[in-house]
């Protein structure tokens, strides 16, 4: 959808109903050109999508204290090591905050889990989770971090920690730091010419001879294709 179409749709009020730009008024147009909150998805957005991202970014779900707790927890899950930084350094708590608004089914399990940690800290140490020592925190986390070994009484805690682990890992490995950590080398223009020889050697694999003659050769990528009457590629 191009920008002109977007604006036309906006001004006739057929899009974005229920979102922040629901009005078909000059204010709506003003909104469109007003400074936007940073962080919405870039590229090919419909007006509805931009409006949704702006709305989510303008809202707050977690309290300051909950965000602090998340900061502690994500760094237990993904700490800095010799390869890469920690999850909080990669702003994973902000990602989790956004996802709880984008997918509201996360809200209750995550908030409930954070409260449960305080409850456990209180039961065991008569303190809040943020006020106990790192060793004490790990003792609680160890009860819920290992699904195959956890006691039945910690079932709900395990479920909470699985969700938190998922979001933390995904949040970290979808950042530049995570890409570097993983060694992902793609998402750029290149020419695929098959599995590198040393990799095939490692696994004792060989290219299938049958197709050796027909696979794409990088040097042929610039010549216009042509076929003979039998459908054989001749250039």
């Amino acid at each position: 959808m191009n920008r002109r179409e977007n604006i036309k749709l906006l001004l006739t009020g057929t899009l974005g109903t229920g979102l922040i730009w629901s009005a078909c008024s000059p204010e709506a147009k003003q909104d469109l050109y007003s400074p936007q909150l940073h962080g919405g998805t870039v590229g090919g957005r419909s007006l509805e999508e931009t409006a949704l991202d702006q709305k989510l970014l303008s809202e707050t779900f977690f309290t300051k204290e909950e965000m602090k707790k998340l900061g502690v927890l994500v760094d237990i899950i993904i700490p800095a090591d010799e390869v890469s930084e920690s999850a909080s350094q990669a702003n994973v708590p902000d990602f989790i905050e956004f996802m709880t608004k984008d997918q509201p089914s996360y809200q209750t399990p995550l908030r409930g889990g954070l409260m449960w940690l305080d409850h456990q800290a209180d039961e065991r140490y008569s303190k809040q989770f943020l006020d106990i020592s790192n060793e004490e925190r790990i003792r609680i986390i160890d009860d819920i971090a290992w699904p195959d070994k956890a006691e039945k009484e910690f079932e709900t805690g395990v479920r909470f920690f699985n969700i938190l682990r998922n979001l933390t890992v995904t949040g970290f490995y979808t950042t530049e730091a995570g890409f570097k950590d993983l060694g992902y080398l793609g998402n750029k223009a290149n020419v695929w010419d098959g599995v590198p020889q040393e990799v095939m050697d490692r696994y004792g694999l060989e290219p299938e001879q049958k197709y050796a003659g027909i696979y794409l050769k990088p040097e042929d990528r610039s010549t216009l294709a042509a076929w003979d009457n039998q459908g054989n590629l001749i250039s």
């Binding site: 179409e5 109903t17 998805t41 090919g44 682990r165 490995y173 530049e176 020419v191």
Partner: protein, 580 residues
Amino acid sequence: MSFEIKPNTESYDVIIVGSGAGGGMSTKILSEAGLSVAVVEAGGDFDPAKEEDRTQLRFPWESPRRGASTKIRPFGDFDAAIGGWDIEGEPYTRKNGTRFDWFRSRMVGGRTNHWGRISLRFGPDDFKRKSIDGLGDNWPIGYEDVKPYYDKVDKLIGVFGSKEGIRNEPDGMFLPPPKPRLHEMFLMKGAKKTNIPIIPSRLSILTKPVNNDRGVCFFCRQCSRGCQAYADFSAGTCLVKPAMKAGKVDLFTNCMVRKVTTDDSGVATGVSYVDKRDLKEYKLKARVVVLGASACETARIMLNSKSKSHPDGVGNSSGMVGRYLHDSTGASRSAILPELLDRNRYNEDGVGGMHVYTPWWLDNKKLDFARGYHIEYGGGMTMPSYGFGFSMDTMRKHITDQFGSPNTNGGYGKGLKKDIRALYGSTISMSGRGESIPQYDNYCEIDPNTVDKYGIPVLRFHYNWTEHEVKQAKHMHDTFEEILTASGGTLLGSKPGPENQYGLAAPGRIIHEVGTTRMGDDPAKSVLNSNCQAHDCKNLFVVDAGPFVSQADKNPTWTILALSWRTSDFIVKELNSKNI
């Protein structure tokens, strides 16, 4: 590309409804024949080469949800296709507790912005299934009628593949296929032990140029995001836009067609549509109306086109419009290849899809279900996005320490990071896509009680799988286990059983629905003749997948393109000889 509302007196030679594979091809052929063409598209404009529309080569951190799916982009935040299974204000309903999920893309190019570029020809058997197994119906045409058009589509649009000489998987005018990725080499080696063929896939992605207007693939694996270089096929970039540059084509975007208008003699006079911007009704006139709105949307328009001369909807004197709706079957399984733990790192994005696939290889006469399926493969060191690393609570056990004991699932800390690196790129997946048997009782019809936000009555679906599809899904799962195990894989998840139809996807989920306006020689049993012309309205044609009598286990797009070209040639001929 944008336009102003035209006066109602505007008249064209041809109105084409929809700008996807069928509408796009028709636009190109008819405008090149010198006809004036109006293309009416329900969605907005889209051009992946424009920076404002570009999602290709974006990184996950350019999305606050890191590429997670949304309602209007169920395949992820960077997927090109806008619409989905659930469009605000455009509902559909279901009947008798049955299920059909309807996927739509509201944009220039339609669902060709979404599909996997898998471009398979139907084979000679695929047009004559009834003669083979007694089920469904034969097409009134055969492979020999469509072959010249498949050849032309191959040359115009481009498809890579390998000549194999398999009777029912006809070879085409292929571009060179890319070499397999590492996991695909493992699968090829494993499948050899099972005598199941794995051959280079056939995708409409340019490994060499076919003309000077489109670039070649630069191997980012993101065809689903739309290609800036136009190196893959989508109807907008390869058909509609070139046609607009060269010919007399007016593109009407955001215009939702309500009905085909007809005169007292029953001849089509044009269409009436709602402009989404001002919500007003407009009419366009033409000598010929071509519907390419998608199998179900076209059926909806025809059923809503009621008049004195067409009391049950235009083209529907047989009562067959909407009947014989059928989608491909689908089932999937995945595995981890322990040999691929701790892989060497290199860029193995490759093209936007699998480099190899398995065509149907068995004889159904020796099986307890009637039709075949092909297998698609996934895996590799793909770009992380939302969902990456989600299953560490079940996956870490696949890594063993130096003494051979498995790691503990779940956990946290430096050990977790180490295991995530080890697991990266070690999983593979397989998906079966099979042919279903068309049923009179699987249909879409107009729901008398529901309209969309434009006041247009909506579709109501009725759909049940039969035993043939369920047994086929069971067979798929047996095959998946055979190939995955033979390739050295450890199966993930569990094999589905009869309680959930062996993991058979719900109808509509594979997005290959066809058959709603099927062709045939008998006007009492079909909607269109063998030239995709309505039996009861001679200047009305259908060019999407509605005319398909049966769907084969092949993705429908290549056949839509070939048939649309064939139908367009027929329209030109009939106009020239003044038959319409």
